[in-house]
Assembly symmetry: C2
Homo-oligomer: 392 residues x 2
């Protein structure tokens, strides 16, 4: 059995309060011993191993858990983005553009795009992605997207309820019937989760509830896009049905904040979408202070947030959502794991998946202190080196 | 004579209106022929050369011109950053922390830090930096910083008037005398520019004028830090004295905007500092509409903007300063060259320095559409490949 040792770590974030200091579980001058894709031990620097990755005193963090992405698509909406920045607001309707491009793309094309996005996520220190369907909107096309998503993650999400398909414009209830019936049935063996875009212009509260209940009946876990563009019933429904996560949370009412604070539903903030749609930013401080568990994710998609940069999300969360750097880093790692209801990722501890990022920085503070920088020197996912920046 | 050809460029930004479309001088399906560090021709794709860099249909832009940086320093102020994000405002006084660290650093240490920052700028597509002193604040230490800056750029700037040195606290006039006398005299052979931090807590209008006039008398070009933290006389003085650039421009009066609009003084926006100090953003739209020439730069420094990411500056300028992506890209390339009063950089045209960035994107729009991403596949500076991202 070969062991990889990540050695001479100046500052190690474990997210394990039992082995290190504070909520981030900080250990100094450490090494991480990895076997067969899992962490077997966190030990003092200087450990032996067959292979060695030298951190040379730098900071190592758990790999980012990007718990909200739409990474399987074709097409480019940069012109729509530029028009929006010049004054046109973001509307859910733009999704149809990507649906058309995705349906007409071949499977190899879709796979190539997906792999490019995974590679760029690796360069940014991300080691786990949740991946949604939602650009197919027919049984056949949604299944194709879920199969592709399943090639890169076990956190696959049926999101047929992304927008009412253009073919059923004006017949939303019929489309919801299709989602709740044939789509859920066909997708259940392939998906872990079901998600709904609960928003004016997408699905209303009753429709959201129907979709989630159908998914739940088929054994899928629940996620909700809630309160992205304006206040709505999404958060209350998510909490009531015990969803793992309510995502966006940009326009929350006091009752929404209270509901999240008193629940196990994670509030997942997606500030890169608020950046790219020129929305206000969600008030992360208020959520943390209310006792909610907060996660950070990219919402990578070609319409409202075409980025896989978790470090940017951290910087935005610190500047504009009121989180401390510690809270933001936790949210981008352990918080993401919590939003996916798993404990094998988002931390560096014996038994966890060996997912970590070696920073070109002495401290995780640099993730916010150095906005826009490519701070990830190397990324290890399931014990394998998936990114290493070449030297100067 | 060997030639490098950057071939199969899908979309080439030349910033040369005489050879391409619009202000960005767009040419499609092009190749750039480079000899001896300069562009010799822009030709249709398929040109021959001894060496070939294949753009494979992607977008190529002029290398970014980062016309405002403080890259020669030692020390880390991430803890100050974190405290500021938790509620403490930014004050010029924090500069003293970096002065102390810089003075006690050895020349090899300073050089290593500077080279790291240049390497990261190259990874981000920057091919030219202006570099200021200002963390020495004695004749000897300012000269040391200027010599180091001179190793990486010919746009070196004496910025002894960064803050009144701690040793002369309460004796600002005496310190200004020193700057205007011995410092300007000693620095003039090493520096191209002189710059002053005109701000409450730094130097007032009279002091700013004295320093600039002393620099001008010694043959230095003028630059001013103006209106960063609040309104002040900096812009008016800059315009009156014919400074090349007034930098920051966050808190402008109507009279400031009019003055910039009617002058050859470039308004250089530094939105990454507004990001990292949680300031409002400058109104770039108003400046462009008033006829001002706008540049974008990073203000890379360890206190208020520890980033070399010009792409982030573009994304911020588009989201928060009201520029179009085209205006922002122009400002980050040709605008920077204008702010440094040179025409050998910031464009891709025969005779210009062969400075360019090959993007992992079909269009420059992606620089704003994909915030936080490492979009630069390869960077060529003076005809040499200074960064190439390894393949997947």
């Amino acid at each position: 059995m070969t062991a990889l040792v990540v050695d001479r770590i100046g500052l190690l974030v474990t997210n394990d309060e039992t082995v290190g200091e504070g909520r981030l579980g900080i250990v100094r001058d450490a090494a991480v011993v990895i076997e067969d894709g899992s962490v077997v031990a966190v030990v003092p620097a200087g450990a032996a191993g067959d292979e060695r990755l030298d951190a040379a005193g730098a900071c190592v963090i758990p790999g980012f858990v990007d718990s909200h992405t739409h990474p399987v698509f074709a097409g480019d909406r940069s012109a729509e983005f530029a028009a929006r920045m010049a004054g046109r607001p973001y509307a859910a309707g733009g999704i149809h553009t990507t649906v058309a491009a995705t349906r007409s793309a071949s499977e190899p094309e879709l796979r190539a795009g997906l792999r490019r996005r995974v590679a760029e996520a690796h360069r940014g220190g991300t080691t786990h992605l949740e991946a949604k369907s939602g650009y197919g909107l027919t049984v056949e096309h949604e299944l194709r997207l879920l199969r592709l998503a399943g090639e890169i993650t076990d956190d696959t999400t049926l999101m047929a309820a992304h927008v009412v398909t253009a073919e059923r414009a004006g017949a939303a209830e019929e489309y919801v019937d299709l989602v709740c019936g044939a789509m859920v049935e066909a997708a259940a063996p392939l998906a872990r989760w079901i998600d709904v875009f609960c928003e004016r212009g997408a699905f209303d509260g009753d429709q959201t509830r129907r979709v989630l209940e159908a998914g739940q009946a088929a054994g899928l876990g629940l996620r909700v896009h809630a309160a992205q563009l304006g206040p709505g019933p999404g958060v209350q429904i998510a909490v009531e049905l015990g969803a793992a996560s309510a995502d966006h949370c940009t326009h929350l009412t006091g009752a929404d904040v209270d509901a999240l604070g008193g629940s196990t539903t994670v509030a997942t903030l997606l500030p890169a979408s608020d950046f790219s749609t020129r929305q206000p930013y969600p008030d992360g401080r208020r959520l943390v202070d209310a006792g909610a568990t907060v996660a950070l994710a990219t919402n990578c998609n070609p319409g409202s947030s075409f980025t896989t940069a978790m470090a940017l999300c951290i910087a935005l969360a610190v500047r504009d959502c009121g989180l401390t750097v510690e809270e933001a880093l936790w949210a981008a790692t352990a918080g993401g794991a919590r939003a996916l209801r798993r404990d094998d990722i988002g931390r560096i501890a014996p038994g966890a998946r060996a997912d970590l990022a070696l920073l070109d920085a002495p401290s995780y503070l640099h993730l916010a202190y150095r906005p826009g920088m490519d701070l990830v020197l190397a990324t290890v996912a399931r014990g394998a080196l998936v990114w290493a920046r070449p030297g100067p």
